[in-house]
């Protein structure tokens, strides 16, 4: 009878900055994943839950992924890893829900002219311009859609992000929402110059892009089976709104830009235009990054595609 001997690994975890020995694990299975090692480390240091651990082979190197298997890493039977504390983490879902609920509520406060915002004689009055009511419906619809997508549609590849991001993100979304809402719902608001024509065109653009954005989110969700973190090239589906995948890597951002352009046209409000511009800059940065990682990961990536604007950007 032959004995199958399993070579167990020993794992020592050092602090990346001070090189102190933080943890020693013996009898670790060779097919253990980094994720499992993180859980074991968490037991000896309960203040560092797995999400805030960064485990790396080199103190200044890149973080190892949770799925990496111990025996496939370039380590001997005594593996030395370096640990860095990523700081308090917060789940993406929590961040999204908080940053989207804010604008929804804040805008409505301005719409209903809650006291202490405008002069007291306007408290709880409503605007006489019908475009203001339409704008409120569109803005609220947009953020309700985002909240529902966060809860039911999106599949997140990262579980958490650093805690300080929630303050940064909320300041951005809530601040801009308040700034826009203040002017749109102001008693001295001036409706669009070209009147009904302008508003109707704006509404069509807005709705078209909202449906487009939603279609892209559904298409991206269907690319990834539940619970997995696989990445595939997105392709156009039967839904015509997804045919833009032929020309663009991140059409969700393209449609998002379109929605806000529509909203700017509808309200003819400079703060909205400014918000659209800032959002566009940020989304372009994200789209370029995503496009670059697609190109790196997939040899056969369609060459016709641009990051965010067909043929331009």
């Amino acid at each position: 009878m032959s004995r199958i001997s399993v070579v167990f690994f020993e794992v020592e975890i050092l602090d990346a900055k001070t090189k102190d020995k933080l943890c020693f694990l013996d009898k670790v299975e060779p097919n253990a994943t980094i994720g499992e090692i993180k859980s074991m480390f968490h037991k000896s240091h309960p203040q560092w839950y797995p999400a805030r651990q960064s485990i790396r082979l080199d103190p200044k190197g890149k973080s190892l992924k949770d799925e990496d298997v111990l025996q496939h890493l370039p380590v001997g039977t005594t593996a030395t890893f370096y640990f860095r504390d990523l700081g308090a983490q917060i789940s993406w879902v929590t961040v999204f829900l908080t940053e989207y609920t804010g604008p929804l509520v804040i805008y409505l406060m301005f719409y209903f002219r809650v006291p202490f915002i405008y002069a007291s004689k306007y408290d709880f009055t409503t605007s006489k311009h019908w475009v203001v009511h339409l704008a409120c419906m569109c803005h609220s619809f947009h953020y309700v859609k985002r909240l529902l997508e966060t809860l039911f549609v999106h599949r997140f590849s990262h579980g958490t992000m650093p805690l300080r991001n929630i303050f940064k993100n909320c300041t951005y979304y809530w601040g801009f929402a308040a700034w826009m809402a203040y002017y749109i719902n102001h008693p001295l608001y001036t409706p669009p110059i070209y009147g009904e024509q302008q508003i109707r065109l704006a509404l069509i653009i807005f709705l078209f892009c909202q449906i487009g954005n939603f279609s892209i989110h559904i298409a991206l969700r269907n690319l990834r089976p539940p619970g997995s973190k696989t990445r595939k090239i997105p392709y156009p589906t039967k839904n015509p709104f997804t045919w833009i995948f032929l020309l663009v890597s991140c059409p969700n951002y393209t449609y998002e830009l379109g929605s806000w352009l529509g909203f700017t046209l509808m309200t003819q409000c400079l703060p909205v235009a400014f918000f659209t511009l800032v959002g566009f800059v940020q989304m372009t940065v994200w789209a370029k990054g995503k496009h670059r990682s697609y190109l790196k990961e997939f040899r056969d990536y369609p060459p016709l595609r641009s990051p965010i604007l067909p043929f331009i950007l």
Partner: protein, 251 residues
Amino acid sequence: MASSEEDGTVEEKENNNKKRTKSALVTAWLTFYNIAMTAGWLVLAITMMRFYIQRGTHKGLYRSIARTLKFFQTFALVEVGHCAIGIVKTSVIVNGVQVCSRIFMVWFVTNSIRQISTCIICQKIQNEESVILFLVVWTVMEISRYSYYTFSLLHHLPYFIKWARYNFFIVLYPLGVAGELLTIYAALPFVRRSGMYSMRLPNKYNVSFDYYYCLIIVMLSYIPLFPQLYLHMLRQRRRVLHGEVIVEKDE
């Protein structure tokens, strides 16, 4: 084959030559820039001193140097470009904040509000003095800074210039900030009264802007920004003058 090997080394030599000419050009430009700026601020200093010696008063001094000051201070925007391209090792943000605050003072405070700089019959004489305060501070700082860069580029740096650049700021930075803040504060009533740079509702862009509150926000922004710049300079000083290695907090 021998010929292709030769071609390879010729190409390499060409690339090296290109790099050398490029860095020689860069050094030449930076040297010229820093000499020009040192000269400019020296001219400003001398003009200011002559004015004061001849007239015995600082009233009207700002008006006499306004154009030269605007030219040289605005030209300093070029430095932000230097940082962005990478030919100068300062961070774009640090340099950018400093240059922007200078340009803001010159173009949007002292320039537009002539009453402050040329006021003859004026109950608040301290308005003028705050202007002179920051002008003197800026002049001394810029002369020491640009001459430091010039001599460093020429590889002949006298120790007293290095000493001046990294010690004057200890007293001059707070004095300069005081001068700037006092000037902005003095400008507030004029801004309120004239409604300058402000836009009110209703208008077709559905936006409003109150320069008065903008100035107040600018003043408040000194509170977080000034300590950071000051501490940054103190760290640089420790590193340059005392050779201390500062371990920066990494992200």
